[in-house]
Symmetry: C2
Subunit: 425 residues, 2 copies
């Protein structure tokens, strides 16, 4: 029986979940993996705060060095969230040769280079299954099961808050602000929801996922990002009529040396496996040249599902003789030889408000035709007050061409109300 | 750079796929894993048979000892299928200390005990990701990512042939025989389809999956098995009207020391993630006490997807210092202390053909009521030739109670046409 001494950095929702799971599963872990995790020290901000779980008072400390610098601690779990001081603390633990398990996508996405460098230099392990999509084993799968694949595309619903909001908007026809308030009341959205609704959280996760999938660092700052704050119930309803569901997707594609990486509201066909991923569930759909299409679906957040991933990393770490496993170049720059494009190709949903007069439709189609864009579906509604709603979906087209066409269309007679990308595959 | 010498047992569709993937991905494997796989010998039945891939003639042999007994070969890949001689050959390779990677669910499900015993005794590794659901990393996930979970239930679409047939019957309203013939013509069903359509293939996979999920051996012969040969287009159509999709599911549940394990046609709500898994795709849905609901979806068969899993096992095997990883008791008997029940609980869809006369419905509901079974939905169609179709779905009920009620109902006035289990969760 091996005993591994463990320290926590932070003990909020996730930390308490890990505490609980390690305790209730102690015998199974001992029996299955011949290991015992001995939690020795827990860094908290306030030792007197009331906690969900019966964490013994004597383990709590407000002195970080008691966790990061204690030579008796073999493993450090980080549950603080945010970039700092989490990055600094993890660095310190890695420099002291400790195995670090983190659930912190932000710190990892922004500082992967220095964290990984420190791990390599000091022979420490760095594990982060819980940082992306909670219980879903997407990190392990990408690293350990898809090694013989050229992953060409991945598309994920990686943020539960926005998926909950969009699912309810779709089911109820409600407006964004209304559902957001409800989600906040239910504790499903933060009082300041910007990290979720503006797509930051999804972009951190996409940076990590696409870097692993492409074996090439895709830094956070090259990712195009558009949140859901401008999504309107009208567009969701039109999409529904045309057979599409709106999701906030994190998308990364690779074609030879050209990569695109983006987070934005996206229409997908109702028949797509991602379309039925509702509420706070997450899912990652990917395509590899050998495995073909694959999807992993599950709980992307929550105390117990995240703890499931953390404890799996702890067991995975102790089962390895060689620590760490990130194989691509450690750099916060885009890998040399790769190019990120902002001129990706997909279909586009476009909603226009046009004066109901002769020649307007001809004008619109001409503007699109000038940029080589052809139309797949077009729907025109009866004019109200002399204005008609025109909704169209294009065939495959380039982002730049569409933007150019839309700025040509936008005029006194035609207002461009919205443009939403459509991923058909 | 480490070189691993490899022998193949068999070189049909999967073997050729592995040959191709290892060759086209040689540089990436070298670069990513610092290993080179050197294929030295390939056992075939006929060295002169024309093969898809340009497998060099000089590697082929019809002498199995040249693969299993050659001390220069470190790893043996088994692609023969069937119980024998595959089991015997794998045993021999394991006894010679070789790492064995197999795609053979039948040999594994039926002879896991002796294969694993030989592996343990001789310090050999035995890997089988490709044996269950092709490219889907369900073996790795169960072992390496869900260690801290008590898996309470799993339900899978684990056979592509039957899923293809049922998907087409559902979409087209066609009859079983008709679609089966078409599937055979397209090469999607075998000339003798019984292993697929009678549920044997699914039961082999369920034996492997449930044993790993429950950390307790669930042998093949305790699994209840019912195929799709009796499925009628009429029931699929009625199910559709009630909001259910018919799938051949492999189901295993555990409640304390009681297990049920079964393969049968099953109605699931249209909104269930498994309901939209169509065509030859596979998916496994499971519930763990910590991870909550999870689903893995992908290609369950085919040359390239299966090769993706085989090569991932090869890389996984060489990355480990300790071979083998099966942690439960190696026995072909049910684990001591466990009990398999054939009195599982679920909902039931029942179709009856009743004479259109007073008192018949009262009789039916009385028979059900006598067994404590209550009705959730009931639909009665206009009588044709004095006979009415009655379709009902029960609330949660026990299998034995339903069987008892149905044999009481079945009489001169009421014929029980079909009974299909319904899994609502």
């Amino acid at each position: 029986m091996r005993t591994v001494s463990v320290g926590f950095l932070g003990c909020g929702n996730i930390g308490c979940g890990v505490w609980k799971l390690l305790n209730e599963f102690k015998d199974d872990i001992r029996h299955r993996a011949n290991v015992e995790f001995d939690i020795r020290r827990i860094l908290v901000r306030d030792v007197h705060k009331k906690r969900d779980q019966s964490v013994p008072q004597e383990l709590l400390t407000t002195d970080v060095a008691q966790v990061t610098d204690d030579p008796d601690l073999e493993m450090v779990l980080e549950f603080m969230g945010g970039e700092e001081p989490a990055t600094r603390y993890m660095l310190r633990a890695l420099e002291k040769g400790k195995t670090v398990v983190t659930a912190n996508k932000m710190a990892l996405a922004l500082n992967w280079d220095i964290l990984q460098d420190a791990a390599q230099k000091h022979g420490s392990g760095l594990y982060y299954e819980a940082a992306v999509c909670g219980a879903i084993p997407i990190i392990r799968t990408t690293i350990d099961s898809l090694q013989a694949n050229r992953i060409e595309a991945l598309m994920g619903i990686v943020n539960g808050t926005t998926n909950y909001i969009l699912s309810r908007m779709t089911q109820e026809g409600s407006d964004y602000e209304e559902v957001l308030k409800d989600a906040q009341r239910l504790g499903l959205a933060e009082p300041d929801p910007s990290s979720d609704v503006e797509g930051f959280d999804a972009a951190y996760k996409l940076s990590i996922l696409s870097s692993l999938a492409f074996h090439a660092r895709v830094p956070f700052d090259v990712i195009y990002r558009q949140g859901i704050t401008q999504v309107s119930a009208v567009d969701i309803a039109y999409g529904k009529q045309l057979g599409y569901t709106l999701k906030l997707l994190a998308i990364a594609k690779r074609d030879g040396h050209v990569i695109d990486a983006r987070v934005h509201p996206t229409f997908i066909p109702d028949s797509h496996p991602l379309a039925s991923v509702n509420g706070s569930f997450n899912a990652i759909f990917l395509h590899g040249h050998a495995c073909d299409d694959m999807m992993l679906f599950g709980r992307g957040a929550g105390s117990a599902p995240t703890a499931s991933a953390v404890v799996s990393d702890m067991l995975y770490a102790v089962s390895r003789t060689e620590p760490r496993y990130t194989t691509f170049m450690n750099s916060n720059m885009l890998a040399p030889g790769l190019m990120v494009t902002d001129d990706w190709h997909c279909s586009f949903y476009i909603r226009l408000n046009a004066s109901d007069q002769p020649g307007v439709l001809a004008y619109i189609t001409a503007c699109l035709g000038n940029e080589g864009i052809s139309i797949r579906n077009l729907m025109q509604r009866d004019a109200v007050n002399g204005h008609a709603q025109i909704v169209l979906i294009t065939h495959d087209a380039g982002e730049c061409a569409v933007r150019k066409a839309l700025s040509a269309i936008d005029s006194q007679d035609v207002r461009v109300e919205s443009m939403i990308r459509v991923e058909a595959n």
